[in-house]
Symmetry: C2
Subunit: 435 residues, 2 copies
């Protein structure tokens, strides 16, 4: 009988994902062994809450001190699933330094402070896997890093946060307000009690930072990323978008523009034919546009115990199958240079609430014309309200001019509050967008 090669895993963190990894290996270990000749064993589980380990994984004897995992000479691969900055960083650094492979789902650490970790993984005798950090069960890191390795990447963008996509889907499908959709997401377990990190776009920011580092091979300063969340999106905007044939999605976007990059997170108007427009509910999706492939889109569940465990296990296996060839992490060719936000060009959706009196449209159109922004379409409906919504879609314009115009429009006496502005992301199926 064939003897399978044992791979001893030390699992640090036994929450949703950690217990999913344990369950996956218990359930699918035989098929994994058949496919890979590996016998993957969770040798040690480390968690401060030893009771939940004993409950969910009977027979596993948990430890509370992660240093015992890193110091164990029998452990081949350390899986870090506690998240956050510390002690996650120490766990990863000490494990890699000790020659142990590391698999992590820690997007925040890699996005904000990954450089030292990537350098250790590139230079040493151990591998770093982080498929689970972006897109849950979607193998998007491997697609970008390996599948499209022969491409210069023009752009990578995606629906990278399931909470916000679920909220926008509910607003779209059931005409809910943002607040009601958020409450629904919380009730269904798709949003945390404190949803700030998701709804303000920070989680998507971490993920687009990681994807952009791989795509462009440049060090990205996380604080340089412009991040807008979805809290200003109203039922009005969802409804107007639908009328005009668009969907509103929170996108993380990384684009190459010559030698510079443009990285941002914001709610975006997508025409219905855009591959990301039809990705609904808790699903995530990543669209990578390579100069050779054109657009390649991957869609699947972006979070959850089992999908994320699938990504963790794919890293454990891939690394174990090339023991003599540690897999480098992200290779950097210097620091990224960024385009100024004002240089960005797109079409825009603008919603502004105004008094219902003559000459207002002329005033607003005049301001846009002053900034050389031409109007593609206008929707203004009869209304009983004292302030009526006016929606304008522009042709392509620089952000600089658009925001200068919006500042002047917001200052008009007849305008109530501030205009809501959304960028439109158009889709070229040939992917030949910049050369």
């Amino acid at each position: 009988m064939l003897v399978r090669k044992p791979i001893n895993v030390g699992l640090i963190g036994f929450g949703t994902v950690g217990s999913g990894v344990h369950h996956l290996i218990a359930r699918n270990g035989a098929v994994l062994g058949q496919r890979t000749d590996l016998d993957i064993r969770i040798k040690t589980v480390c968690d401060l809450d030893t009771a939940r380990v004993k409950e969910r994984a009977p027979g596993v004897d948990p430890v509370r001190d992660w240093k015992r995992v890193v110091a164990d000479p029998e452990i081949d691969t350390v899986v870090e699933l506690i998240g956050g900055m510390d002690p996650a960083e120490s766990i990863i650094v000490e494990s890699l330094s000790a020659g142990k492979n590391v698999v992590t789902a820690n997007k925040k650490l890699l996005a904000e402070k990954g450089e030292r970790i990537f350098a250790l993984a590139n230079g040493g005798s151990a591998s770093l896997g982080f498929e689970a950090a972006v897109g849950g069960g979607i193998p998007c890191i491997a697609a970008l890093k390996s599948g499209l390795v022969g491409n210069r990447i023009r752009s990578v963008m995606g629906i990278l946060n399931g909470t916000t996509n679920y909220i926008l889907s509910r607003m779209q499908e059931e005409s809910l307000s943002f607040e009601d959709a958020l409450a629904d997401a919380q009730a269904k377990g798709f949003a945390e009690a404190d949803p700030t990190f998701d709804i303000e776009g920070y989680d998507a920011g971490h993920k687009i930072a990681i994807l952009s580092m791989i795509a462009f091979n440049k060090r990205i300063d996380y604080s340089s990323i412009s991040i807008e969340g979805i809290t200003k999106i109203g039922a009005f905007d969802i409804e107007y978008a639908r009328e005009m044939g668009y969907r509103i999605k929170l996108l993380g976007i990384g684009k190459r523009d010559g030698e510079r990059v443009d990285i941002r997170v914001h709610p975006t108007m997508l025409p219905l034919r855009h591959p990301l427009a039809s990705v609904e509910n808790e699903f995530n999706a990543v669209m990578i546009t390579g100069d050779m492939t054109g657009p390649v889109t991957l869609t699947g569940k972006g979070a959850g115990s089992h999908p994320t465990a699938s990504a963790v296990v794919s890293d454990i296996v891939r690394i174990a199958l090339r023991p003599a060839s540690p897999e480098g992490a992200i290779r950097f060719d210097g620091d990224a240079s960024y385009i100024r936000p004002g240089e960005r060009v797109s079409r825009y959706y603008m919603r502004v609430h105004t008094e219902d009196s003559p000459g207002i449209l002329a005033n607003i159109a005049g301001v846009l014309a002053d900034h050389r922004i031409s109007i593609a379409s206008v929707i203004q409906k009869e209304s009983e309200l004292p302030h009526v919504p006016l929606v304008i879609m522009t042709h392509e314009a620089h952000e600089e001019g658009l925001f200068a115009a919006v500042e002047r429009i917001n200052a008009f006496d007849f305008v109530e509050g501030d205009a809501t502005v959304l960028r439109v992301e158009d889709y070229q199926s040939d992917g030949a967008d910049d050369e």
Copy 2:
């Protein structure tokens, strides 16, 4: 300065894909080197048409005899792009036997006669890569084989042939007949002068055979796959599908049903919310449903010089980065057992042309009732024609009963010609379809 590791490639076949590989390496060699520390060099190009090699790749000195490539001790990786059975099989077998890595796009050979090749690749010191055999620039083989390695795969299905998808998209969008859409595809270079291989579904059959072998780890007998092409789809069907909220797509489908599998190619009715319903024109897509991930869908260009070259180069790189750990091909756990086609269960679309006289619907409905098939909806419109189309959507039923009923319906005097029957493929976004 860092010395990059040279990888010498022997390229056999310099048609569309071969010249694309040459162009990709010439154009993106620097970024490849930066990402991988490999210096990929095309050392030799082998093609019977040496003139086209000299024209498209000035400076490359072509050879006409593939044995010179396989015998060259300096060549690390042989790229087989001539297609067909012979001498492609000899090239691959002799290369692997000589310890050379092989990268191929040859779906026909792998699907119909791959066993010897897979066994050689599993046992030896060389690797076999065949990402380019399915889905062009979409890294779907890697996603299935590595990204979802921890999953028991419930099903893999996809739009695997760009020619037929282009034709169906033209019929859909421009209400063209099959013949006119085919002529348009030929004019645009999306269909061959002799389109049989594509439109009869054989190409999709090869691809679903390969995907199913990986998904289920079973040897698949290509001749056991039921294959139907798109030649019987009429403008009528496209129009009725649209009215009812469906798209018609040619799908390759591989499903696991307990210990048995069900593998087939046929035109399929997809509800609009199905991830494959919105994949248009020359795009391909693969949806893999894992027990851990749920549905994961990959979409992109399924053919063409540059997308396919991207897949070839990803294989060259991945194999070169693990020199001491040859990558096994597909691991088999025995021969597949197949479900009998009659055991399949789905909903069905049926179009039948009948005389316009009383009692006909009652007769047809009676036959369906005899076979315990219940009707979900009926469309019959007023018409000037002597034979009017009657369209029936059924609830779920076994194929056995459905086809027995259709045989009786076709035999009615008042029925003109044979009924057109299409299977409906429903979509469960939770992927929890069989356990």
